[in-house]
């Protein structure tokens, strides 16, 4: 019973947070709504007994991605965070239509009344086991991921740094 109450509350929070995040004019408010969405999703992971993923969700999404988004907004938009131009794109109608169509397609399994499998009752997802799995069958994936993160780091720095202008041009200006 308490699990159901938690599920419905968290789903409501997550959907509302996501809606506010994508439709709010003020970007800073949008980021904080996005964080509420991330937090709700993290608690949903807890509800599904994936506690390590829940912790990583908070650590990476709220702690790192959120802060990064805030920094990007402060560096690009005006500091008030208001999106002062027209915020909806030209093809908004087709956007809504495609989103609705995809929603219907995603719902097909439910519409077809496929049987829902039962949840395993005894489940002990220990973090140790996860670590062993990462080291034994998935070690190549882990290394590739490390490479990807390093490449992303270098790429982000070079992209954000921009092209250094030669000094003569600076003096001409």
């Amino acid at each position: 019973m308490s699990e159901q109450i938690a599920f419905w509350m968290l789903s409501a929070i997550a959907v509302l947070g996501a809606l506010v995040a994508v439709r709010k004019r003020n970007l800073i408010h949008g980021v904080f709504a996005l964080m509420i969405f991330f937090a709700a999703l993290s608690v949903l992971f807890l509800l599904l007994l994936a506690e390590f993923i829940a912790a990583v969700q908070i650590l990476v999404y709220i702690g790192a991605v959120g802060i990064l988004l805030l920094f990007a907004i402060m560096l690009t938009e005006r500091v008030t965070g208001d999106d002062d131009r027209r915020m909806t794109s030209r093809g908004w109608f087709w956007g809504f239509a495609v989103a609705a169509a995809v929603f219907v397609i995603l719902l097909l399994p439910v519409i077809q009344q496929l049987p829902s499998p039962e949840a395993a009752q005894t489940i002990d997802p220990s973090v140790k086991e996860l670590g062993h799995k990462l080291m034994n069958p998935y070690v190549v994936t882990l290394e590739v991921l490390a490479l990807l993160l390093t490449a992303a780091l270098i790429g982000a720095v070079t992209a954000a740094q921009g092209v250094r202008m030669p000094k003569e041009e600076d003096s001409q200006e």
């Binding site: 904080f32 506690e51 390590f52 990583v56 908070i58 650590l59 702690g63 802060i67 965070g81 140790k128």
Partner: protein, 404 residues
């Protein structure tokens, strides 16, 4: 949701919500007293505890000062700037306090009255340490929120400074904790504390010592303590993100900051200083029949482990106060350079050293172990020295042309 569960939750959480704010009041008094003594002043000594004579001989060293401050804060006017975002201005102090309070439950404090509900305690979670770091990171958001919502240049500057600082120092903070997690082989706070039973504290190993120093420095920066208090530098940006806060909201920020200090000191005690271990506290390994083995604390009298834990927290806080009275504030570029060019490489090297040492001393005898330790210590010391030399600014001594 049965009544028993609610009762158990209350038993587990209410003591934390009572003990730590009380300690907060005491700590503010301690800090003001200690700073005053360092600066050759007397500090608060007039306000007595209620029922003692005002200003008389029985003012008990001004112990009533926190109470008086609290009452003053409560009755002050709550001022919100006209351009401010009212909702975020209100939410920021609350958001600053909640994560700080929340992480307290990940500290392995075994109160005597919570023995019966040990299996449901949060610090027994399989990934308690990760949760601790994740939730502590939320503090950054509160700081940014406060700085942005105040609609004040100084606040925004302070807020952005704080965010940059906290994000940078979180990396060495987590990496230094990784060493301990590697050694214990668990992220469970209680298991980490109990692996250091007796005097097997991690701070007494070379890598543990290096990790503890890195952790302590990063914790200072993470909680905006001096010498890393740039976000609230009074002399440069008034009070940073606090500037537009007054009255009760300011008190909440203040409380949140100190609770965060307690929490991160508590984590340092858990990771490096043996948790609740100390004279009169012993640990027994008990096989509970499940797949996991649990340590059970046996102390001379109930609650002794908690007392040792709090004593260690206060030892760390005393050092923090001492540093605040001694060190000048860093510059922004020094701050960032220190995190990225000194602490980060050192903590990564520390992880590598710890890994090699752990494998080398598996079957080693006493003397071999001692040699490994000395070598590790030398490597870490040489690296720290080398990084220090590399990071020295290339400044020649100033030449005085005309002053001769």
């Amino acid at each position: 949701m049965s009544l028993d569960l609610i009762r158990d939750i209350l038993i587990a959480t209410v003591p934390l919500l009572v003990i730590f704010p009380t300690l907060f009041a005491f700590t503010t008094w301690l800090e003001r007293k200690a700073l005053a003594r360092i600066q050759n002043r007397v500090g608060p000594d007039k306000v007595g505890v209620p029922l003692t004579r005002y200003g008389g001989r029985f003012s008990l060293f001004g112990l009533g000062q926190p109470l008086a401050d609290g009452i003053k804060m409560l009755f002050k006017e709550n001022i919100v700037p006209r351009g401010a975002d009212r909702l975020f201005h209100l939410l920021a102090p609350i958001l600053a306090l909640i994560p700080a309070m929340l992480v307290l439950c990940f500290l392995p404090l075994e109160f005597p009255w919570t023995k019966s509900l040990l299996p449901v305690q949060a610090f027994l979670l399989d990934s308690a340490v990760i949760f601790f770091f994740a939730i502590t990171g939320l503090n950054t958001l509160a700081v940014f929120m406060a700085g942005w919502a105040s609609r004040n240049k100084y606040s925004l500057l302070g807020g952005m400074r704080a965010v940059a600082q906290m994000v940078s120092y979180e990396i060495p903070l987590v990496l230094s904790a990784v060493v301990v997690v590697m050694m214990v082989g668990s992220l469970n706070a209680a298991e980490i504390a109990n692996a250091q039973a007796g005097w097997d504290w991690f701070v007494f190993t070379p890598w543990g010592l290096a990790a503890f120093v890195i952790f302590f420095i990063a914790a200072l920066a993470e909680t905006n303590r001096s010498p890393f208090d740039l976000p609230e530098a009074e002399s440069e940006i008034i009070a940073g993100y606090f500037t537009e806060y007054s009255g009760f909201k300011f008190a909440l920020f203040f409380l949140g900051e100190y609770i965060a200090i307690f929490a991160i000191s508590g984590l340092a005690v858990t990771l490096f200083l043996g948790g609740g271990s100390g004279p009169g506290v012993a640990m027994n390994l008990v096989d509970q029949g499940l797949a996991t083995e649990r340590w059970v604390t046996v102390s001379a009298f109930p609650g002794l482990a908690v007392i040792w834990f709090l004593v260690k927290i206060f030892a760390i806080i005393a050092v923090m106060i001492w540093l605040r009275g001694t060190l000048p504030r860093l510059r922004v570029d020094q701050l960032m350079g220190f995190a990225w060019k000194f602490l980060l490489p050192l903590s990564i090297l520390n992880i590598i050293v710890a890994g090699f040492a752990w494998h080398a001393q598996q079957q080693a005898s006493g003397t071999v172990k001692a040699i490994i330790w000395v070598v590790c210590l030398l490597i870490l010391y040489a690296t720290a020295k080398g990084l220090d030399q590399l990071n020295r600014p290339n400044v020649r001594p100033r030449e005085y042309k005309y002053a001769e």
